[in-house]
């Protein structure tokens, strides 16, 4: 029934529109063909697919691991997605991913939620990370105490002058609230690690959807202060030395100061699986804890875990 009618349509058209139509259809069909040839060469049943999602802090590390691992193990396909620790954990609970990356421990509510949904998250510490306090290169301020940081982010200090800097308003940059880095920063810096401290971020804190968003604004804006995982720090921004609450020594973040416990704003990074992993997922996690994989950790500016 349909072919003759289609012919009618074509005959009814002028040549040039046919050419345009042909080009358009060709455009649409080309990738379709490449897909067919691709999938016929590599039937997908030979592959194990591991879905990996979560923390934006970890995403670039996970990406580097995934690339390297697929060179060693061509039969494993890894897909990596960011979105924030909460995103990954939610996806693990909803059963849409195999490994959730998190830059914080699972919350109690999340664990309850997981149990209620019939999943049993298992925790792995895969690397450590220091949260660097960063400002514009031209900012003369070098050191801040945790108390000062808390006062800046809760809105008590609003001008760089109060910290020995230039007369400039402070623009506070933070990650979005779904980021594990945000939660960690809230608990350990804004609230100084005190359990019953209910201080909040000042509402005019800019919530940027990503780590690189913070980096971009820091590079460009001399008023800004931000925090980011050490892996995101480049030499186009200045890292501030931080002193713990009861110390007078200002420490810059590095692998050494993190592992010695001197740098006060550092944390573990996690991967969660649903139940004790088996098969390809277990192999992958074993490899992540190997020396070879932990070297990549150092390359990306994170801190490798020490036995």
């Amino acid at each position: 029934m349909f072919p003759p009618s289609f012919q009618n349509i074509i005959v009814g058209m002028k040549t040039s529109s046919i050419i345009l139509l042909a080009i358009f259809l060709l455009l649409l069909i080309t990738p379709g063909c490449s897909l067919l040839s691709e999938s016929s060469e590599n039937p997908s049943d030979q592959f194990t697919t591991i879905e990996n999602k979560g923390s934006d802090t970890i995403v670039n590390l996970a990406l580097a691991w995934a690339e390297e691992y697929q060179v060693i193990n061509p039969n494993v396909r890894l897909s990596v997605t960011g979105g924030g620790s909460g995103t990954g954990i939610a996806a693990l609970i909803n059963g849409t991913v195999d490994i959730a990356n998190a830059s914080r421990r699972m919350k109690i509510e999340e664990k309850e939620n997981a149990v209620a949904n019939g999943s049993d998250p298992v925790e792995f510490v895969i690397a450590r990370d220091a949260i660097a306090i960063i400002v514009h290169l031209e900012n003369p301020v070098n050191n801040l105490t945790l108390q000062q940081l808390s006062d800046i982010y809760s809105g008590k200090i609003n001008n760089w002058q109060e910290l020995g800097g230039e007369n400039r308003p402070i623009v506070r940059l933070s990650r979005e609230t779904n980021s594990g880095t945000h939660v960690y920063f809230l608990e350990e810096v804004v609230r100084l690690g005190e359990k019953d401290n209910k201080t909040l971020f000042s509402p005019d804190t800019l919530l940027l959807p990503s780590s690189e968003g913070i980096g971009a604004e820091i590079r460009e804006n001399p008023n800004a202060i931000g925090y980011d995982g050490l892996g995101y720090v480049t030499d186009e921004m200045k890292v501030i030395g931080v002193s713990a609450v009861d110390s007078k020594e200002y420490i810059l973040p590095s692998a050494a100061t993190v592992n010695s416990g001197k740098y006060p704003i550092a944390r573990d990074l996690y991967m969660y699986t649903n139940g004790t992993p088996t098969g390809a997922i277990a192999d992958y996690l074993d490899w992540i804890l190997s020396e070879q994989a932990q070297e990549i950790v150092t390359e990306l500016g994170f801190v490798p875990i020490l036995d």
């Binding site: 997908s44 997605t81 690189e212």
Partner: protein, 286 residues
């Protein structure tokens, strides 16, 4: 009297120049955006950039998976939206009685067109990804995008069908053709350029949108092409969002290159659609 008409002439001259300047002030920045991306993006374009896979934490290599992903999403969107959209347009133009129900359909189409894209994303996440358990997949994304594109396809197709003169229908029916035969053999062929325009404009919108695919399809990094409609995929607009906001030390060249590919993809669809439409209008003999 004379001076007043002189004044009025001056006023008019002033007004005209003001509007001319305003028009150019409107067009220049928008055109500037295109040229700027063209200039900064072109150096990034190479065989490897288009057909290669991303490497080195996406800082090297190409964007082929994102291009393919966007093709599939466009294709999937077309598969759902084209039959439904054209069907609905035929109904409105050829069958629908002038009554309350039809007016309700029109209001629904207008509203569908106005719903913010991120609300489509919410809906797609809730219905397709979670409730129907398609997961984050091309299928879920295509369905979400196709509902979003429907109003564009319906309204342009209907316009095209309505521009076919009534006489064509009367003649066809009078020589004994059924209603459907008339539609298929007479009206659809005549309206084809207009329909194509509508379809392409609709798909163009689908190809360029990020918000609806944020929670329904998009993967940050997927070192392979999707092999089934239930796979997640990278997509150009989301890829640009990712590399411009989430990857540290991303070479600016790759960012502009990706923006350029997306721009060319979307604008060429738009230009094809506009060309088909204006040619058809110029050729129309009735």
């Amino acid at each position: 009297m004379k001076s007043s008409s002189h004044l009025r002439y001056k006023q008019q001259q002033f007004g005209f120049s003001l509007l001319t300047i305003m028009t150019f002030l409107t067009i220049i920045p928008i055109a500037g955006v295109v040229i700027y991306i063209l200039v900064l993006g072109t150096p990034a374009i190479s065989w490897e950039f288009i057909f290669g896979f991303p490497r080195g934490g996406m800082r090297e290599g190409g964007i082929w998976p994102a291009i393919v992903g966007t093709f599939y999403l466009t294709l999937g969107t077309a598969a759902f939206a084209v039959p439904i959209g054209i069907g609905a347009a035929i109904y409105l133009s050829e069958y629908a009685p002038d009554n309350k129900a039809t007016r309700l359909i029109r209001i629904a189409i207008i509203n569908l067109a106005g719903i913010p894209s991120v609300v489509y994303g919410l809906f797609g996440l809730g219905l397709f990804v979670l409730f129907l358990q398609f997961g984050t997949s091309i299928l879920a994304g295509s369905l979400t995008l196709s509902i979003m594109t429907l109003p564009v396809i319906i309204s342009t197709t209907e316009e095209a069908l309505k521009s076919v003169p009534q006489a064509f229908r009367t003649v066809s029916i009078s020589v004994g053709a059924t209603k459907w035969q008339t539609i298929r053999k007479i009206i659809l062929p005549q309206a084809l350029p207009g329909i194509l325009t509508g379809v392409i404009l609709g798909l163009e919108r689908a190809a360029g949108e990020t918000a609806p695919i944020l929670f329904t399809v998009a993967a940050f990094f997927l070192p392979r092409l999707p092999s089934s409609p239930l796979d997640a995929t990278m997509a150009l607009p989301y890829h640009l969002f990712v590399i411009s906001t989430q990857v540290p030390g991303m070479p600016i060249k790759i960012q502009y290159g990706t923006a350029l590919v997306l721009l060319v993809f979307v604008l060429s669809m738009n230009i094809i659609a506009t060309t088909i439409r204006s040619r058809a209008r110029a050729r129309r003999q009735w």
